[in-house]
């Protein structure tokens, strides 16, 4: 009886974005204001408004390109696009969704491996201690990316200024944190 057939114009991915992040790709009218204000538009393979356009086409090849894009990883989630979007499209939230889908489907852009390595190192650090252990993060990140020499000067300078803890801060309820990680892990989803 319901007349709610609004989803019919959307592809599977489009529907997923609508349901998971409240972004209806058809609402974008391609004004480009998001791109115009995006601090990193020039470093993206497809600027935000192009991503919206690609998703609008419903063309599976273009949707695939979006998932495999560098854009979704270099996006800073600075929220500027959303703040100024005349159609109030929550692009940052959509980017989160696209990143997670790309990870799940193993379609991650190769250029993004350092960014993801950093995120993984970061999450690993809190998975075990409950809080961020900055030295641990650096070491782990360097192990993942083999970027041994980068930022080498920074750590001693930080240590000197008392900005780094030698030992991690451990919270008491570490098993609780571990359990949160386990339960929210995509692999363990029931």
């Amino acid at each position: 009886m319901s007349s709610d057939n609004h989803h019919s114009a959307l592809t599977e991915l489009g529907t997923e974005l609508l349901e998971q992040s409240d972004v209806k790709v058809t609402r974008c009218y391609q004004c480009g204001k998001c791109t115009a204000g995006c601090p990193l538009a020039l470093e993206m393979d497809y600027p935000p408004s192009m991503v919206m356009r690609m998703l609008q086409t419903g063309n599976p090849a273009l949707e695939e390109k979006v998932l495999r894009s560098f854009t979704i990883w270099v996006c800073l989630t600075c929220e500027m696009c959303f703040a100024r979007c005349p159609m109030s499209i929550d692009i940052p939230k959509m980017m989160d969704q696209l990143r997670q889908k790309a990870l799940l489907e193993k379609k991650v852009n190769r250029k993004a491996k350092e960014i993801i390595a950093f995120h993984k190192s970061f999450l690993d650090s809190i998975r075990y201690t409950g809080r961020l252990y900055e030295i641990g993060l650096f070491v782990d990140y360097k192990a993942r990316t083999l970027k041994i020499l980068d930022d080498m000067a920074l750590a001693p300078a930080m240590l000197k200024r008392g900005k780094l803890n030698i030992f991690p801060e451990m919270i008491k309820d570490r098993s609780g944190i571990a359990s949160i990680f386990r339960k929210t892990s995509k692999k363990h989803k029931d």
């Binding site: 989630t77 500027m80 300078a157």
Partner: protein, 280 residues
């Protein structure tokens, strides 16, 4: 009444001077502050980039702990943590199923009853009204107040100040004796979480910010976020490379500038920990 305190990881590590200055200022005004016990990391950018549920569960745990501890109001000086906590509260309030799911994941009841204050809101509520007469060493410098992204956006959720050309920090600094300048990069992004993984992007974005502040004659940049601070301060080498000149405008936390104005000691405020030397 006791004000709850969520420092977040940075304030225990690379930005400990922020915590030091917050606590010093609070102490100077006899504000009782109580840290949330056994708090965890909010998950920051990494969590919401990688896993939405995790990005809600971690902040929810923090808020649950605050509730358990009987705190009705907490201050979250880190703008990024403030954003994550507030967004989580907003999303869970809007979706009961999600709220139930997150409570189950955390194994902790989550009510959503805690009021979350960012540092400016905290200062405006508890300190600004009592500031008159306390400013013994006016911070008489031209300052560029830098708000960054997460203190003001998205406005629909945070409902703090205004998204374009915000004023709250400027007003506060004016009261501390400073002259806030009108500049163009108040809410542009510094590069945030890409600091380590894409340092050159951060050099450029932060460079634009520092460059504009310099061009308009700022003598200090005032921030309210450890990420902004570390990018503008610790990445000054990359910034100067991008700008092609040596810019030595110091970057202070809003609480440090305020602390100086009310006559607190430089060391007490952690000013010795900065990369760009603070000369006052």
């Amino acid at each position: 009444m006791t004000l709850g305190f969520y420092p977040g990881c940075s304030l225990k590590g690379s930005s400990r001077e922020y915590a030091e200055s917050v606590l010093a200022v609070a102490k100077a005004f006899d504000i009782a502050i109580e840290e949330i016990q056994d708090w965890n990391c909010c998950g920051a950018t990494a969590a919401h980039n990688m896993n939405r549920e995790l990005s809600l569960a971690l902040p929810a745990r923090i808020l649950s702990l605050a509730e358990k501890q009987g705190l009705s109001e907490i201050v979250v000086p880190c703008a990024a943590c403030y954003s994550r906590l507030t967004v989580t509260q907003h999303e869970l309030a809007a979706d009961q199923t999600l709220k139930a799911r997150i409570s189950e994941v955390n194994g902790m009841e989550y009510k959503g009853s805690v009021t979350i204050l960012n540092i400016i809101q905290m200062l405006d509520k508890y300190i600004t009204p009592r500031l008159e007469g306390k400013v013994v060493k006016p911070f008489n410098k031209k300052v560029a107040c830098y708000y960054g992204c997460l203190l003001v956006r998205p406005h629909e959720i945070l409902k703090f100040d205004r998204e374009e050309d915000p004023q709250s920090m400027d007003e506060l600094m004016l009261k501390a004796g400073a002259t806030p300048i009108d500049w163009a990069f108040k809410t542009e992004c510094c590069g945030a979480g890409l600091s380590v993984s894409r340092t050159h992007s951060v050099g450029k974005l932060s460079g634009l910010i520092v460059g504009d502040a310099k061009d308009r004659g700022a003598e200090a940049i005032i921030v309210a976020c450890p990420m902004c601070h570390s990018n503008l301060d610790m990445r000054r080498k990359e910034i100067n490379e991008y700008l092609g000149e040596k810019v030595d405008i110091p970057v202070l936390y809003v609480t440090q500038a305020l602390g100086l104005a009310i006559g607190l000691d430089k060391k007490e405020l952690g000013l010795n920990r900065h990369f760009v030397k603070v000369t006052v």
